[in-house]
Symmetry: D2
Amino acid sequence: MNTLGRIFRITIHGESHGPAIGVVIDGCPAGIPLDPADFEEDLARRRSGAEGTTPRREQDQPRLLSGVWQGRTTGAPLHVLFENRDTRSADYGNFTAIPRPGHADFTAMMKYGGWSDPRGSGHFSGRITAGIVAAGVVAKKVLQHSLLRAARLTADNGQVQGSSAVEHAEPDLASAPAPTGIRFQTSLLAVGGSKDINLAIQNALKDGDSVGGLVEIRIRGIPAGFGEPMFYGAESAIAHALFAVPGVRGVEFGDGFAAAAMRGSEHNDPFIDAQGHTSRNGAGGINGGITNGNEIIVRAAVKPASSIARSQHTWNFAEHRMTELQIPGRHDTCIVLRAAVVLEAATACALADLALLWLAAMPLEQNIPWRHP
Amino acid sequence: MNTLGRIFRITIHGESHGPAIGVVIDGCPAGIPLDPADFEEDLARRRSGAEGTTPRREQDQPRLLSGVWQGRTTGAPLHVLFENRDTRSADYGNFTAIPRPGHADFTAMMKYGGWSDPRGSGHFSGRITAGIVAAGVVAKKVLQHSLLRAARLTADNGQVQGSSAVEHAEPDLASAPAPTGIRFQTSLLAVGGSKDINLAIQNALKDGDSVGGLVEIRIRGIPAGFGEPMFYGAESAIAHALFAVPGVRGVEFGDGFAAAAMRGSEHNDPFIDAQGHTSRNGAGGINGGITNGNEIIVRAAVKPASSIARSQHTWNFAEHRMTELQIPGRHDTCIVLRAAVVLEAATACALADLALLWLAAMPLEQNIPWRHP
Amino acid sequence: MNTLGRIFRITIHGESHGPAIGVVIDGCPAGIPLDPADFEEDLARRRSGAEGTTPRREQDQPRLLSGVWQGRTTGAPLHVLFENRDTRSADYGNFTAIPRPGHADFTAMMKYGGWSDPRGSGHFSGRITAGIVAAGVVAKKVLQHSLLRAARLTADNGQVQGSSAVEHAEPDLASAPAPTGIRFQTSLLAVGGSKDINLAIQNALKDGDSVGGLVEIRIRGIPAGFGEPMFYGAESAIAHALFAVPGVRGVEFGDGFAAAAMRGSEHNDPFIDAQGHTSRNGAGGINGGITNGNEIIVRAAVKPASSIARSQHTWNFAEHRMTELQIPGRHDTCIVLRAAVVLEAATACALADLALLWLAAMPLEQNIPWRHP
Amino acid sequence: MNTLGRIFRITIHGESHGPAIGVVIDGCPAGIPLDPADFEEDLARRRSGAEGTTPRREQDQPRLLSGVWQGRTTGAPLHVLFENRDTRSADYGNFTAIPRPGHADFTAMMKYGGWSDPRGSGHFSGRITAGIVAAGVVAKKVLQHSLLRAARLTADNGQVQGSSAVEHAEPDLASAPAPTGIRFQTSLLAVGGSKDINLAIQNALKDGDSVGGLVEIRIRGIPAGFGEPMFYGAESAIAHALFAVPGVRGVEFGDGFAAAAMRGSEHNDPFIDAQGHTSRNGAGGINGGITNGNEIIVRAAVKPASSIARSQHTWNFAEHRMTELQIPGRHDTCIVLRAAVVLEAATACALADLALLWLAAMPLEQNIPWRHP
C-alpha cells in the first residue's frame, strides 16, 4: 500500500535504478503558494555529500508536473517527479542467490515470488524517500494553512479549540516560518551511541562499517485537538508514517520507553497555566491520542545502513552453504544524516492529515464554562 | 477514526459508563469456527482482579450479535457487545475545570468543544479495550485460516512464498493451537524498571501510586511476505495498532532503540539456513517492512496509570490557579498487567489484515531459481 | 465491506433473524443535538404497515448505546442498536438447494462457501436498512451543522465558496428544518410503470405478485463545492451509497438517461443569474462531480420484491432438475414504499461525508475577481 | 479524492495543458507480464481521429516509469506517464467571468476559490481519462491472474466458489484473451437517441452541435462471488467508477430502469441449470451486490459534449448580465465514441479490486451439500 493518509494523501512510486521516482500528493487545499524552489531546502538536507554519505550524486531536481498553476496549488493532485540520472546498475548483481543481510532482498523475493526489481534495492531503496521529503514540504504548508483557517474562525466564535496553542505559540512568531508559529526542530541526538557524531562516523568509515543513530523531532505550535481516537490517534498516525521510513527500528513519544520505568506521580504531567502547558511535557504533547497544545516530541531509532564495505558471512540459497559476501557499490556510512529530514517530512505528512480532519469535524459551539469568547 | 485495518477491519464504540461497549469485526472470512467461549481466555487475561488492578468488576460477558451462525463465521460483520454493569458515576465528577493530569480530559474537551462524555473517561477509558481483545481472538483465527489457505496452495504450485516459515514452524506443531504453528507469546519484561514485578506493584500500591511496564510480544509461524511497503509495512501496521492502546509511549522491533547505538556489522543479521533463519533476529522478523519468516519481536512501553490515589497539584482552569487534586474512584496500580493481552490482540488484528492482503496479491508463479517445487 | 464514507463513516451489522441489527456512525462532529426521538419520523416511513408492505411488525425502537451524552453528540462513535423481536424462522427453510430467484441466496452461498446465515436472507435482508435510515437522520444533522460552520466563515471572509447556495436557499428558511435551508424531498414517481400507485399495488397484491418503482430525491440548499473529483465526485459518492440499498437497478442524475438522446445545445444548462442558477438544471445540480448550488436531483429504479406469493419455476441444485418453488413467509408487494426513505438516508450519508471533506479542504482566500467580500 | 479502489488502487494526476498527465497503479500482483505495447490497443480506441472527435492529436505514448522489470510486474506501484504535447492554451481564455455551460468551470471555481487551472478544463479535462484507460489494461490482466489463481485452488479443494463461472466460460476459451475466458464486450447502443450512429454524428457536426450516447458493457467469465456487501457491492463499486468518468449521467444494470415498471414474476430470474445460469439475466449478473456467474451487463448514459461550436447564452458573472458565448478551440462532436473504452476500463478497475478482495477472503472449506469435489 503505497498511499499514506486519509485526506492529505501521498502516493509514492519508483525504483532506485528505474527512469524516475515520484510522489502524488492529493487532498492539498487550493490557493497555497508553492514554488519548485520551496523544495530545495529540505531536499538539500536529504542529499548526499557530507562525510559519511554515499558518493552517489543525484541533483534531485523536482519536476512539478501537476496541481500547481501560477504559483498556487489548484486543489488537484500534485505530482512531483525526480528523474534518476546517476545510476550504475553494473554495481549491483542480482541478489537472489545471496540476499544481502538487513536488506529487503530476501523478503521482497519471497513476497513477490522473485519478480521484484533488485537493482539498487528497487522500490525498497532509500532513494524513494526523496518523494516523502517533497511531500513533507507541502505538508508543512498545509499545516500553516490549517492553523490560519482555524485562527480566522477564532475571530468570530471567540475560542476555537486549539487556539490556546496558537496563543502560546505567539512568542515564536518572529523566528517562525509563518504567523501561526508552527516550527519543526529536528536534531540528531547520537550516532552509534555517541554524542560525538563526527568522530563516530569517521571511526565507522575507517572500519568500512556503518553506524545507526537517534533522531528527535520537536514540533511547536500544533494546537490542542489533533488526532482521531482511537485508531487514528496522533501517535498512531505519526508512528505509522515514521516506520515507513527504511531503517526505523523504534519510535517513542515524550518520556517514551523511560515511562515504563516510572511511577504515575513522576510521569503525570500536571497542567500549570491557562494555556494548557504541562510541567515537564513527559507526554510529548499528546494525551489520549490527541495533541494538548504543548510541543510534540517524538524520537526515532534508525539502524545502521545494511550495506557495508566489510565482507559478511551469510547464506547462499543457490548453493545451500554459508558464503562470504562483499557488497560492491556506493554506500552511506551513516544514513541517519540523511534520514533525519525524511523522518521530519513523514511526521509533517501525518500531522497535515490530522489537521484537515481537525478542521473537518470542528464543533460549532463550545461548551467549556471557563472559556469566554 | 474508530476503524482499524483495510480488509480485516474492526470498529470500536462505547463509553466507560454508557449502557454498553462493543466492536464490529468486518472482513472476516466465512466458515471459521467461532464460539462465544473462544473469547473467554483472552478476556480473562484483561479482566481486573489480580493485585494491582482496579476493584471494578465487569463480567465482560460478550454477546455475539451477528456474523456467526451454527458455530461458524458467515462472512457478514461480527458484532460483539459488552453491556456495562458495574458503573458508579458518582465516583466521577465533571473534570472540565480541573482536568486530570495524564488523562484525555483536557484534550477531549479541547477537541470536542466540551461535549465529550467525561464519565469514567468516556470513550477514552481502558474499558473500551475489551473490544480490541475480542477482535484479537477473531484475528488469531483469521491468521490460522490464512496460513492453511496458503499451505493448500503449496500443494500444487510447489512453494508458495512464505511456506519456508510454515516449514520451520513445524517443530511447534505439537504445542501450537493449529497445524500452522502460529504462536503468540506475550510477556511482561519489567514493571517500574524492575524485573521483580510483584514487589514493584506492592510498593506502588503502598504509596498510593502507579507503575508503568515493558511488554514484549513474540509471534512464531508468520511466514515471509506479510507487509505492504511502503506505507503499510509490518512495523507501520503493528505500531499503528499498538499506539491506539491507551498508555503506550513507545514501540520497537527486534534490537529496537539499541540499534541506534550499533554498527552495521553488529546489527546486520546474516541468513544462516535454507529456511531463511537469521543469526540473531535483530530485525525482529521484519526487513523492509516485510516479514522474513523469523519470529516477530515487538516491545511496547506502557506508562503508569494516570489515576493515582495520591493527591496531585494541577491547574484549575475555572479559577485560574494551581490546585490540589484528589482523584476518587477505583484505580489500577499497574495497568500493564491488563494491557498486555490488549497489545497482543492489537498486534493480531494488524497481522490478520496483512495476512488477507498477502493472500489477495500472491503471485501465480515463482521466479526463484533455487526454489524447486 | 460494511463501511461507507471517509470521514462521516457508517458501519452496518446484523442479520434479519439474529438477535439484533445496528449501525456504528463515526466521524460525527461533537455538540450536535441528538435525541432518540429524532429517529422516529424517518424510521416510521420505513416501517411496514401500509397496504403492500409486509405484515411483519418491528417496533424498530432504536437504542442509542454510545456517542451521545446529555442530548448532544460527543464526537465519539454513535451506536444505534435495534433488537429483533418479531422473527419466525419457521417461515424460512434453508434455501441452499433451491435458491430463491432474484435473492442473494445463491450468490451468498457461492461467495461464503455455504456458511452465510440464510434465515430471512440473513445479512442481505432489507431489515438491515433500518441502520441506514438511522444513519441518515444523523447525516442530515451533520449537513446542517456543516453549512452553519461555513456560514460562520462567511461572516469574516466575505464569501465562502458555496455561500451562493446558502443565499438562494434563503427563501426556503421558513419551511426548512434549519436556517441553512437544506431540504430533502423524496417522492415516488411511479410504481410498476403507473403513476396510479395505489391501483398498481392493489393489482399486484391481487395477483400474488410484486411491483417495482421509481424514486426521485431532490435536495435543496446544498452549496456549490461538494464533491471530490475525480474518484469521489458527488455522483460517484451518491450512486455508491444508493446501489448499496437492496433492489436498486439504476441511478441517474438530472436529465439522466434522457441526456444520451440529447444534443449539447439542449442539454447544456446556461447560468442565468449571479447565484449560479441554471436554466433547467438538467445536470441535476452537479457539474464535473462538484455540486453547483442548484437543487440536486437523483432518481433510483427499484426492482419489484423478489419474494412473491405466486409459485415460480427454478433450478433445484440438489436434484439437478427444474422445480416449482412456493416462497412461504410474509412479503412486501411493493418494497419501494419502504425503500424511498432508505434511499434518501443513503444520499444524506454520502452528502454528509462530502460536506466534511468540503470543510476540511476549504481554501483560505478567494481568487474570484467578481466576488466582493 | 483521486484514488479509486481498496487493494487494486489507481491514483490519477495531471491537467489538460500541464506538462504531463499520469496514473499510479498500486496493489497489482507481481509476475504479471506487462509490456508498453499492451496499452496500445485500448489507448487507440480512446484516441481522437474518427469523424466526430476533436482534431487535437495526442500520441498518448505511455511511459512506464516504475513497477515493471524484465517484462513483468514487480509488485511495486506502476506509474504510467503521458507527456502533453499538442496543447494550444491560446485557444482557451480564463472562463472565470463566463463559465462554460455544462463544464466544471463554475463549480471548480467555487470549490477551489478560483485557484484551479482553467486551461483546457485543467484537471477536469477528458484528457485525464487516458490514465483510466491505462489502468484498465492492467486491471484486465489482474482479473485474468485472479481467475487463474482461483482455478489453481480448484485443483485440490474441489470446487472453489465461482468455479461454475469458470466452467461455463469454457466455450469462450478459443476467442478469449486468456484461458479463464474473461471477455469485455463494449458497444455503443445509440447516439442522440438514434441507432444510426454515423448519421446522428454527421447531423450534429453539420449543426455545430454535439450528441450524447448510450454505452453497454458486457463482461463474460466473471465467477460468482465478486462484490462485498453491503457498501462495496458490485453495483456500488462499478457505478462509483463509471460516474467518475466525465459526462456520465446514468448507470443501470441488467433490466435497469425498466425493472421499476416490472412485476416480480417478470423480473425474477429463475436459475435454469447447475452452472447457475438464469433464464434472462435481468439482474445483469449481480444479486445482492454479488456476481452470480452470469454475464455482467451495465449501461451508462453519456451526455453530449458541453463544448459546442454554436454560440450559447449564459451569465456573465463579472458584468452581471446574460451574454453570448462562443467557445473557441477544438471540440468533440460525440465524446461517446472515445468514452466507451474509458467506461470499459473504469469497470475493469472496479472488478479487479473486487477480484483481489474475493481472493483475500475466500473460505477454506465448502458447506454446500450438493457440491461434490
